[in-house]
Amino acid sequence: MLRLSGLSVSYGGLRALEDVSLEVNEGEFVAIVGPNGAGKTTLLKAISGSVRVGGGRLEYRGRDLIPFPSHQRAALGIAHVPEGRRIFPSLTVLENLELGSYRRAARGRRAETLDSVMALFPVLRERRGQAAGSLSGGEQQMLALGRGLMATPELLLLDEPSQGLAPRVVEQIFETIDRIRRASNLTILLVEQRVVEALELCDRGYVLETGRVALAGTQSALLADPRVQRAYLGA
């Protein structure tokens, strides 16, 4: 479904990604883990189109994605739930969700999708009229997830959904992601710093280290591999 080959991205003189190749098959859940500064966020941004690709190939359903601007990539069914949530704090929960279904294919089914998102996150139904900025961190993360789902995406890109949240809330978020995954046959690409949590959810994973793919493998192989630790601690 998604294939990256030899992808590189730089900001100014700074190489953020170098020669990254990976693929995500339809219906698969793939996790990308690695320490901070490894280029995980940049990778998702390159896929959703908010940073310019410096070299390499990026294909989605056999089609070259690079010439498409980011809003057209969203129209193709790629939803990006960004790091730090980026909800619209002064709009209500409901308005935030409605904005999620902006893409044409999603607009027709808005009421239906809204129902299923509310079913997935009962707390959002309770707070639908409240300003999104007044939600707690965990609720905001759920709203961001819900907003991503409102686009009825085919590929969901999740950037560090656990960031800045208390451990108990993190568990809840990961449980929800697992439920989303079971409820639909959505394809998910998750970026996370929390190694075990992310790897336990996914089918396959990649370990990114300073802009390169250091390791790749199935869930169980990576979970057992002591080299993952080296990517984080260097020893």
């Binding site: 190489r15 320490p35 901070n36 500064g37 710093q193 190694v195 075990v196 260097g234």
Partner: protein
């Protein structure tokens, strides 16, 4: 070379002004010439605080009006000659600037500009209240010269030209002085300037006071040459600030030539339109003037001067990229010196978030101490507390056995603690050398000596070849080296380096690490923040690990990376449960 060109330019303005004044014969043309000189002077005055220092003032006519009112009132009430009266006006304007600046410079950015709007309004109301709605210049027929009452219209434009020349000289002196570089650094990045030892508040106050005096003198001459009857609206009104802003924006901000160019073009256009087209098509002068203004601003949004000047090419350069100077001989292991920096129980909370919780450690002279931790661990907050950007809620920092907590950043810098930033904070419109020069001025050196010092610091990091380029043309590695040089130019005993290796290629990391070792070899103690441990393992003598604002561990690098608490912080409890700490290492909390 450029120095001489600056003075030559001022001389040229003087000669051209003189020639025009002598060549023109009509009364009306002299009036235009006088206005060109006066508004150019006002523009230059505004440019000192708003152009160089970037503190946009929308109320600069306050000083213009003070100059006019004080001079005329002294003549009318006390029969004092305006030659002295205008000096009194300038003095009072400077005093007013200091009074106004003290509260107003506590506001940043646009809020400062908005606050300055209020002052001319206050003075207008005050003049109305005191009954000075109209103050006529008293006619003194027996002493016309003493009371600035000239029959010959040429005299006024010569007087205004003299003031313009003096203001140009003042601007030129500021531009090339320590104050000038400090102001430009404040404009481009106030925090970085503070961290380089610049006392931003005092510099801004100095610039504000210096910019009030020429404005007041221009107001006094304007009253005698043009107005004859001083009214609140005439000198404190909107017209005065609009003319000032127009000549600056058209000509260019942040250079002494901008206001001169702007005034030379816009003032004659507006006057001639008023006199010629205004009679036949009432209102047309406003339309033409506005259209001219818009056309110029669209073609040259930064002003004509910057549009026409060939900027130093930041990108094209002939010198090769950074070359590493030969590495010094391998260093003997450093014997831990005495404690220089003592951090005790620092806590800092932001709204609901405990960024630092009771963090204590010490730094010994001559060591390289690494501070590591996952993102959000509080590392940068710690540096911000150490260099004075933030005040801790609790705890104490001691430097060389004296308290350092609560000292502002420029004082911390002058006491010998330099710092760099996670994202390089450079001054984009200053050349590489000038960037470093701001640091070199930290101890108040004379410009020539500071320049030598800055050149030496650049040579130390291998950037001598890039001295005259703009930072925009540098690579990430070169920018970081430049920032290191700027920090070293402040002659620190200890440097705080915030992620100096982030985003560098493998070669870049090697080079930067060599520079850091060399810095230490030169006797400077080094504290480095990194979130990746790998790079620091080889560089640091000792590591302190922070996680969620707490000190998690401390010890030699090899020891720390096997510490279960550290593994848990980086990879999670569940990873630790699966894999264990590897080779067990003694825990040193």
């Amino acid at each position: 070379m450029t120095r001489d060109r600056g003075w030559l330019g001022i001389a040229a303005v003087g000669v051209i002004g003189l020639v025009l004044s002598l060549a023109l014969t009509e009364h009306y043309h002299h009036r235009i010439l006088t206005l060109v000189f006066l508004w150019a002077t006002m523009g230059l005055a505004w440019n000192i605080i708003s152009g160089y220092a970037g503190q946009i003032s929308f109320g600069h006519q306050a000083f213009f009006g003070i100059g006019a009112y004080v001079t005329v009132l002294l003549a009318a009430k006390l029969h004092l000659t305006p030659w002295l009266g205008m000096l009194g006006g300038a003095g009072i304007a400077v005093l007013a600037a200091l009074l106004i600046g003290t509260p107003t410079f506590r506001l940043a950015g646009i809020y400062f500009g908005l606050a300055t709007l209020a002052y001319p309004l206050i003075f207008r109301i005050l003049m109305d209240f005191l009954g000075y709605q109209e103050v006529a210049i008293p006619m003194v027929r027996d002493h016309p010269v003493r009371f600035m009452q000239f029959e010959e219209p040429r005299t006024f434009d010569l007087l205004a030209l003299a003031l313009l020349a003096a203001t140009l000289v003042l601007s030129r002196l500021i531009e090339t002085s320590r104050l000038g570089y400090s102001l430009r650094a404040i404009k481009e990045n106030e925090q970085a300037a503070e961290a380089m030892g610049v006392d931003a508040f005092r510099c801004k106050m100095a610039a504000y006071a210096l910019s009030a005096a020429p404005a007041a003198l221009a107001g006094a001459i304007y009253a005698h040459a043009i107005l004859f009857v001083v009214t609140p609206d005439g000198v404190f009104g909107v017209i005065a600030i609009v003319q000032t802003l127009t000549v600056c924006l058209v000509g260019g901000v942040g250079t002494l030539w901008g206001p001169v160019i702007g005034a030379a073009i816009m003032i004659p256009i507006s006057e001639i339109l008023d006199a010629t087209a205004g009679d036949r098509f009432p209102g047309i002068q406003g339309v033409v003037y506005g259209a001219t203004l818009m056309a110029i601003m669209m073609w040259a949004p930064e002003g004509l001067f910057w549009r026409l000047r060939r900027r130093p090419a930041g990108v094209a350069r002939t010198a090769p990229a950074v070359h590493s100077p030969a590495d010094p001989a391998p260093l003997p292991p450093v014997a831990p010196g005495p404690v220089v920096l003592d951090v005790r129980g620092i806590s800092k909370t932001f709204i609901g978030l405990q960024a630092l919780a009771d963090v204590s450690f010490d730094v010994r002279e001559g060591e390289v101490l690494g501070i590591i931790g996952p993102n959000g661990a509080g590392k940068t907050t710690l540096f911000n507390v150490l260099n004075g950007f933030l005040l801790p809620d609790r705890g104490e920092v001691r430097w060389l056995d004296a308290p350092l907590t609560g000292r502002p950043p420029h004082v911390v810098c002058r006491r010998g603690i330099g710092r760099t930033f996670q994202v390089v904070r450079f001054f984009p419109h200053l050349t590489v050398l000038e960037n470093v020069l701001v640091g070199a001025f930290a101890h108040g050196a004379a410009p020539a000596a500071a320049r030598e010092h800055a050149r030496a610091a650049l040579a130390r990091v291998g950037l001598a070849g890039q001295a005259d380029t703009l930072p925009a043309g540098l690579t990430t590695l070169e920018l970081r080296l430049m920032e290191l040089a700027r920090c070293l130019a402040t002659s620190p005993r200890l440097v705080l380096l915030d992620e100096p290796l982030a985003g560098l290629s493998a070669d870049g990391v090697e080079l930067m690490a060599a520079m850091i070792r060399r810095t230490r070899a030169a006797g400077v103690t080094v504290v480095i923040i990194e979130h990746t441990i790998q790079a620091l393992v080889k560089l640091a003598d000792r590591l302190v690990v922070l996680d969620h604002g707490r000190r998690l561990a401390e010890g030699a690098p090899g020891e720390v990376t096997r510490n279960p608490a550290v593994i848990e912080a980086y990879l999670g409890k569940r990873w630790l449960a699966r894999h264990g700490p590897g080779h067990a290492a003694p825990l040193r909390p």
